[in-house]
């Protein structure tokens, strides 16, 4: 439950359609509780939220059918950390939930034939490069000054952060690497300890960029 120190965090995984199952398996392995989110009721008392991969058109229609757009926005604007992966990145962009100041280019790397795995450097992740799985993946075509780009592939941004919203174009739930999910869990822990995102850190990073 939100705020109770020591208890496992409860993370909602949007489960209208898409890669929710693999995210839930990963969260279980990391000791976090998860809940499938299919209606507004499922958003109560969440400590974090994952918008998984899947088909962005299908997911948009589902969000509209369930009236989930405003509840999801309210949750993110209340400071609950959010991780969007692949189609989840698209959901966070200006043309969809409009939570991050960026525009995603859908299927930017091509069809399934061009899907691939590769290592990349992700800012904020220590150690060896991150192994990333890109499936019919988008990239970030445009972004505003509040968005911090964390990684790129072929010169196109594929990971970005804005406050406690983290978006990646690849699928951390499909590789053996836990570190992207740990970023979400760290943001949740930091929020529990300190209460909310750190504006000084964000300002400092923007200045640095």
């Amino acid at each position: 439950m939100a705020g109770s120190a020591g208890a496992a965090p409860l993370i909602g995984v949007l489960a209208l359609q898409g890669g929710f199952d693999a995210h839930q398996r990963r969260l279980a392995r990391l000791g976090a509780d998860s809940r499938r989110v299919r209606t507004g009721r499922d958003l109560e008392e969440l400590d974090g939220l994952i918008l998984p991969g899947g088909e962005s058109t299908t997911m948009s229609l589902g969000i509209e059918r369930e009236g989930l757009a405003d509840p999801l926005r309210d949750l993110a604007r209340a400071g609950v950390p959010v991780l969007g992966t692949c189609a989840g990145l698209i959901m966070l962009d200006r043309d969809h939930l409009d939570l991050m100041d960026l525009r995603a280019q859908r299927n930017a790397f091509g069809t399934q034939l061009e899907s691939f795995e590769a290592d990349l450097a992700l800012e904020g992740v220590e150690g060896a490069p991150l192994h990333a799985v890109f499936i019919r993946a988008p990239w970030i075509a445009e972004y505003g000054p509040d968005v911090r780009v964390l990684a790129a592939m072929d010169g196109h941004p594929v990971a970005a952060r804005q406050g406690d919203l983290l978006a990646v174009a690849f699928h951390p739930e499909l590789s053996d690497d836990d570190r992207v999910h740990r970023l979400l869990l760290d943001a949740i822990a930091a929020r529990r300890d300190g209460g909310g995102p750190d504006p000084d850190r964000d300002r400092a990073e923007r200045a640095q960029a």
Partner: protein, 304 residues
């Protein structure tokens, strides 16, 4: 805005098992709809399909028309690819690796080596490891599923009996696959060898299923889904997504039925939502009772 720090030289691996099953992971909880034209594909996408299966005739028409059913005309597949942004799948005949090569050249997203088409090889299925694209194959039982996975399939769909609108075979196949998985999971490590022999399936795959309690690739359901409640039923029986063939575009109001089946697949375990989705959908597809079909009329018997 381009920054030097992003330039990381990196080796790209394509067509790995993870990339192939990964797309199936992304289709979970969704509905894959058979379409025969760009208009139908577009309607399916706007109704919430997670992917479309491009084919020349839906199974109900293949049954009615008879004759040899083949891969679709590439022109039609291209029109469908141009019409939608969701993944486009297409069917090749069992064992017809040249049709599969053509589909790969067309850059479809998934190839269905399908019993709905007339088999091209009575001995061998396609060696799917030799392809860059992922394959889905039908199965009626766990051994059949494991043989297909052994040949490189990245997704299994229970076969059901396509083009009938009768869910009974899909239920039989799903229950059989899931039941065999549960049985394997209860075996001791020393008992798995004999089980693999009995199942005529690759030992490594049988060991993996016994250990994990599930198939190493996603398990979807096809063949006979005609209503939202059918979708709910097979999802509750353990399917992770559904294929709907004739059930949508052979019904009275395809758009409403498509939306309703999408909604019921998402909310499969909420009877009130399935009830609401089922309300006033009009007439479903004309159906055939699978139990009355005989011999060669049974498509599920194709493949082994």
């Amino acid at each position: 805005m381009y920054s030097e720090q992003w330039t990381v030289s990196s080796i790209r691996e394509q067509a790995t098992p993870r990339v192939k099953t990964g797309l199936a992971e992304m289709l979970k909880g969704g509905v894959i709809m058979d379409v025969v034209s760009a208009e139908q594909a577009s309607l399916a996408e706007h109704a919430g399909a997670a992917a479309v299966m491009a084919l020349e005739r839906v199974p109900a028409d293949i049954r009615r028309d008879g004759g040899v059913a083949r891969m679709s005309d590439p022109a039609m597949i291209r029109q469908i690819q141009a019409a939608v942004s969701i993944p486009v799948m297409a069917k090749a005949r069992i064992g017809h690796f040249a049709e599969a090569q053509v589909l790969q050249a067309l850059k479809v997203d998934y190839i269905d080596e399908s019993e709905v088409l007339t088999p091209a090889d009575e001995e061998n299925h396609i060696d799917k490891w030799g392809f860059q694209l992922p394959f889905v194959c039908g199965a009626t039982s766990l051994p059949e599923a494991l043989r297909r996975i052994g040949e490189g399939a990245a997704m299994i769909r229970s076969k059901g009996e396509a083009g009938t609108g009768d869910i009974v075979e899909a239920v039989r196949h799903l229950r059989s696959i899931r039941g065999e998985i549960r049985r394997l999971a209860t075996l001791g490590e020393d008992e798995v060898f004999s089980a693999a022999k009995e199942l005529r399936s690759p030992l490594e795959l049988v060991q993996a299923v016994a250990r994990e309690g599930k198939l190493p690739v996603p398990l979807f359901c096809a063949g006979g889904i005609a209503t939202p409640a059918d979708a709910s039923l097979v999802m509750q029986l353990g399917a992770e997504a559904v294929f709907v063939g004739s059930g949508i575009f052979k019904s009275e109001d395809p758009e409403r039925r498509a939306r309703a089946i999408v909604e019921a697949t998402t909310h499969f375990d909420d009877p009130e939502r399935v009830a609401a989705a089922s309300d006033g959908l009009g007439t479903p597809m004309a159906s055939l009772e699978a139990a009355k079909l005989q011999g060669e009329e049974l498509l599920a018997q194709r493949g082994w």
